[in-house]
């Protein structure tokens, strides 16, 4: 993950170029991993950093903190945020890299919100404080053939029941920006400093207007995060037009191949919520319709990230 330069460099720039935010402040690093964000904060003068990490990586973080001479400033706490005792009643800043694929898959957002409500001082900072989810549509004939239609005939046998499952599972993969057929539409912005856990379940409408005559095989979701409390707005995008990250994009294949003309639109709604039985999974209900010259279709499709 440290090798995701977009991600780590953005956090580094946010911290190094806004040291005034951190000077003499108490910082909580939620899901610290190797402790890299804690080290950045310590370096620019944080009074103390509490780095919480529940995996065995906590031991490594402890060693790294010592190696770099920050044992006095950074306290690594091995355990779950929901279970540990923090040695201080309040913190000034919560920093975290909590985002999952499709922003919300296997993410740590609930944990960040829990920490915010329990320990963050009034008017304290949550970094990042904004996250937005976007949708666009792509031409993807070759990949769809390879990933989905492949199952229709596998070494001479019919495995179409696997095709059904493959259709249902969003695919995390890199989309070339030349595949994009329509505009990109904002679905939802979350304010991490104010939102509740329930705000991560939502329904959003979309209208994707074709910018050229083409075929549409899939919708593609991606997210941005922003740090709006910096001296100057900072952040990064995981969209197909930006430099690649380990989050790539999330591809939702459509049952239909949509023959779309420039100016025509795919309209619909997307409902996102944690799966009721297994809250680590994300349910995505997609409704879309096209009423065009060459294609009229209306469909509801269920996807599930697991």
């Amino acid at each position: 993950m440290l090798k995701d330069v977009v991600r780590t460099k953005t956090y580094q720039n946010v911290i190094y170029k806004n040291s005034f935010l951190f000077k003499d402040k108490v910082v909580l690093d939620v899901g610290a991993g190797t402790g890299i964000l804690s080290l950045f904060c310590a370096k620019v003068g944080a009074k103390h950093v509490y780095a919480i990490e529940c995996s065995s990586m906590a031991d490594m973080a402890q060693e790294i903190v010592k190696l770099n001479g920050y044992s006095d400033v950074i306290t690594v706490i091995k355990g779950k945020v929901e279970e540990i005792d923090l040695p201080v009643p309040q913190v000034d800043i919560i920093i975290s890299e909590w985002m999952g694929y499709f922003l919300l898959y296997e993410n740590m957002l609930d944990t960040v919100l829990y920490a915010r409500d329990k320990w963050l001082v009034k008017d304290g900072l949550v970094l990042p404080d904004k996250a937005s989810l976007y949708l666009t549509a792509i031409e993807d004939a070759d990949y769809k053939a390879d990933k989905i239609e492949f199952w229709n005939e596998v070494y001479g046998f019919d495995m179409s029941c696997i095709r059904k499952q493959a259709m249902m599972e969003p695919l995390v993969d890199t989309v070339d920006q030349n595949q994009i057929v329509t505009n990109c539409q904002l679905l939802k912005t979350m304010d991490i400093s104010k939102m509740t856990s329930g705000d991560a379940s939502f329904t959003a409408l979309f209208k994707l207007i074709a910018e050229r005559d083409d075929y549409i095989h899939a919708l593609v979701a991606y997210f941005d995060v922003s740090f709006t409390k910096c001296h100057k707005l900072m952040g990064f995008s995981t969209g197909p037009k930006s430099r690649g990250t380990h989050w790539k994009q999330t591809v939702l294949y459509l049952e239909d191949v949509i023959t779309i003309c420039q100016g025509e639109a795919v309209v619909g709604s997307i409902t996102v919520a944690p799966n009721k039985k297994n809250p680590r999974d994300v349910d995505i209900m997609l409704k879309y319709s096209v009423n065009g010259r060459h294609c009229r279709v209306s469909r509801t499709q269920y996807h599930r990230m697991r």
Copy 2:
């Protein structure tokens, strides 16, 4: 896995081109997955195929068998080989794709041997029946810098304790054949029709002779499997000179960069065994020495696949 063409096509050819082996025989497919090998066997006239699969994929295999009209010939059994009851006392053939990375990592070999000893008729066939592990040495300066030395300085911090761990973990990756500096040496051949579980722990000596002046950064292990009971010997290799498979190769980085001259040798031994505490992990103890014009070194290095 089905998309690994080398793997699946070899099994298909073994079965389709040697239908005389399968005609009217009872076959056991250990770790059947989607059931593809069972379908191949059924197609060439097996009397009955028992497809054992312990994961939820068994349900999918069941559906695929039905979809393709083989419900009378193929019986899918969901469960662990060690726990299920087979409806027949004996089988004529055991077929399995049991191989893991480095041949032995998270593999199903023990399960195949268990099935062989419990159900295989005297003079029955195990397919494949031979597996061999090989070793060679490569130049790999760029990748070693990226994968290993990276940790010496990460965004300005010393994370050399992670370097230590990265060095210890063999890396499963594709090696370009142009990186190969020495000959390739056979370490061990296993006869699946006769071996015992203990034979998968062994020590082998090696002597890798440089074919050109170069630097050596890593040793590379890979395996072949063979079906020696076919009309004509069949099989495939996962070596760097063969067409790629999902097994790729296994790279063991050396602490030393060896400056080697053409004709000089890296000699040593490799000891392979399941980890005592966690038998799914593989311990690899490497001893190597070079006594050359520009480089004299002798070292023992421990690797662990987990």
